[in-house]
């Protein structure tokens, strides 16, 4: 990695002319005659920077960044798999990228959205999909609003949602945004949902349902899943599947068959669209037949004249985003599903689990694994048993020195000092072995050179940063 770089604002000068504006070829008027002077601005404090300076600046910044194309990215629960290049190519075709959301000749986009809905329905077992949500958390909100509307229509007052303590933070936050209060369910010693507590909570009568991810954030499959969904249904509740961890289930087991009624997917996790440094994502939501009338508008329906989009939907929760979801991302996911097909998707599920378990077995030889059983897509290690007060954060920072990205740390919250590792199916054995070797070396360093770990990272553009000062005295711009 490179040395530090100045901000772009320090690179400007006043003599630069950009070449990105067409020549004005019409007669013009005095601006003040069109728009009154008091509505016009004076300065724009953004420098003019020459093209070559801009390119060098951002290329340099890109070198100070790590992506999946740089190497293994074992960030648990984020499914950092390889992003096929054909996805990028297709999304940039003018026939997809230059289409206005309000134009009439859009049959291709509607067909594509319709086609991927059918594929996702088959993959999850659901009956209908909306492609509107812009991200996973956005999909969660949609799912929860559907639950809210469903009980409103039935005239039943159910204003609570059960969320296990191992859940992603978005789950309780989304439920709250939909107006629910949250019952947090403590996981049992196996990291699974305790059936007796669930039964008790459901008996209160005001619980609308449960949000669950399975495999859960510990990476293990909840073996009682059928009993869980049955209990919730028995008391008139709905079961929501957080699809963040769907990758290892592809072609193996479907949320609908587990008993779920609503599911959101993360196209940027399971279906290989790039994470983009934190978006744009896409979070389609699938539902069982009974809930289709509640999906957001607009929706696409098939008529005699082909596909048309409509605002009409009996009990729709309404619109949740302008226009049509993150279509540019949806195209990429569609390309991915077509490329893999039935066999390919199943292999994704299998190899994701194979890779995770191989890594687990090897790392377990040194690091503490609180939930010791066959995992699915990921597993959680901790800093327990490490000498010299070496912490999870120290380990994570030292991994950066070895040229890899670190696992998700201090999550899930139910495990102290958690390191959540998810290799995904696209890592080769060689890549896994290299990572294992680095983790072994770091383990040895914890015994022999603990100071090195505590002062890590040493090989990155900057050393460990002062997060406390940053939060006490926020500097958010220049």
């Amino acid at each position: 990695m490179d040395e530090k770089e100045l901000l772009i604002f320090q690179k400007g000068n006043n003599s630069t002319h950009t070449n990105f504006i067409p020549k004005l070829d019409i007669e013009i008027e005095k601006l003040e005659n069109i728009i009154p002077r008091n509505l016009l601005r004076d300065d724009i404090p953004i420098p003019d920077v020459s093209e070559v300076e801009i390119v060098r600046h951002y290329i340099k910044l890109s070198r100070m960044n790590y992506g999946v194309d740089s190497g293994i990215y074992p960030l648990g629960s984020c499914t950092m798999k390889y992003n096929p290049k054909i996805n990028e190519y297709v999304a940039r075709l003018a026939e997809f990228s230059q289409i206005h959301p309000l134009q009439e000749e859009n049959e291709g986009t509607l067909q594509l959205i319709n086609a991927i809905s059918v594929l996702l329905a088959e993959i999850t077992g659901m009956d209908g999909f909306t492609l509107q949500p812009a991200a996973g958390a956005h999909g969660e909100l949609v799912g929860l609003l559907i639950i809210k509307k469903y009980f409103e229509m039935k005239g039943v007052k159910k204003n609570k949602i059960i969320v296990p303590d191992s859940a992603h933070g978005t789950n309780p936050a989304s439920a709250k945004m939909a107006g629910f209060s949250i019952i947090e369910l403590q996981s049992n010693q196996n990291g699974e949902v305790p059936l007796d507590h669930l039964e008790f909570a459901m008996q209160q009568g005001d619980v609308a349902g449960i949000m669950l991810t399975n495999p859960n954030t510990l990476g293990v499959f909840d073996r009682e899943i059928l009993k869980i969904t049955k209990i919730v249904h028995k008391h008139g509740g709905l079961c929501y599947y957080d699809g963040a961890n769907l990758n290892p289930m592809l072609g193996i087991c479907r949320p609908r068959d587990m008993g779920f009624d609503i599911v959101h997917l993360n196209l940027h996790k399971t279906f290989s669209t790039p994470h983009g440094g934190g978006g744009p994502g896409s979070g389609p939501v699938g539902v069982i037949k009974e809930l289709i009338p509640f999906l957001p508008t607009p929706c696409i329906i098939t008529t005699d004249e082909g596909l048309v989009c409509t605002q009409d939907r009996d009990h729709s929760i309404g619109r949740i985003k302008a226009f049509w979801g993150n279509f540019g991302i949806i195209v990429r996911a569609y390309v991915y599903i077509l490329s893999l097909g039935a066999e390919g998707l199943k292999r994704v599920g299998q190899i994701a689990v194979l890779n995770a378990n191989y890594l687990r077995i090897q790392l377990q030889k040194k690091y503490y694994l609180p939930y010791d059983r066959i995992c699915k897509h990921e597993f959680v290690l901790t800093d327990k048993n490490l000498p010299n007060e070496v912490t999870t954060e120290d380990i994570a920072k030292r991994i950066l020195d070895y040229g890899y990205y670190a696992p998700t740390i201090y999550f899930p919250l139910i495990v102290n000092g958690a390191m959540m590792v998810e290799p995904t199916e696209t890592e080769s054995k060689k890549s896994l072995d290299n990572f294992i070797e680095a983790m072994y070396k770091i383990y040895d360093e914890a015994f022999n050179e603990p100071d090195r770990l505590k002062s890590a990272p040493l090989n990155t553009p900057v050393g460990r940063l002062d997060a406390v000062n940053a939060a006490r005295n926020p500097i958010l711009k220049e």
Binding site: Y410, A467, V468, A471, R472
Partner: protein, 131 residues
């Protein structure tokens, strides 16, 4: 790790301390609580003159990686807040029972004092949690 718990104070299960002086109660978080949260970066205090019930959330205490709540130990009116914490939230870490105090309450119902914990009772709470 040894924590300080002054014996003249009263405590809550949720890790607040209370100092009673006549009709006024000063409130802050305990040494144990500040340690659990880590470096405090921000404290959001209520407006003066609000009246709140015992057990309701009255302030939020943020560290880099966690958020804690300050619960009303007693029903009453907020008569003073520690404005210095806006610029110096670190006082909660360095002096949790002194300059890191958060609010002063005019007590509405003195009978509620009986529900507060003694230092011995609170130490048991902490010991149980540490396990």
């Amino acid at each position: 790790m040894e924590y300080r718990f002054p014996s003249e104070l009263k405590y809550l299960q949720t890790h607040e301390w209370v100092r009673i002086e006549g009709n006024v109660a000063s409130v802050g978080i305990t040494d144990y609580a500040q340690h659990q949260l880590g470096d405090i970066v921000y404290v959001e205090l209520p407006e003066v003159n609000t009246t709140l019930n015992k057990g309701s959330s009255v302030a939020e205490i943020e560290s880099v990686k966690a958020v804690g709540e300050l619960m009303m130990p007693l029903t009453g009116k907020i008569i003073e807040i520690n404005n210095i914490l806006a610029d110096k939230p670190e006082l909660v870490n360095s002096s949790p029972y002194g300059s890191g105090w958060m609010i002063k309450i005019e007590i509405s119902d003195k009978s509620e004092l009986n529900d507060l914990l003694s230092v011995e009772a609170y130490k048991e709470v902490v010991n149980a949690e540490k396990k």
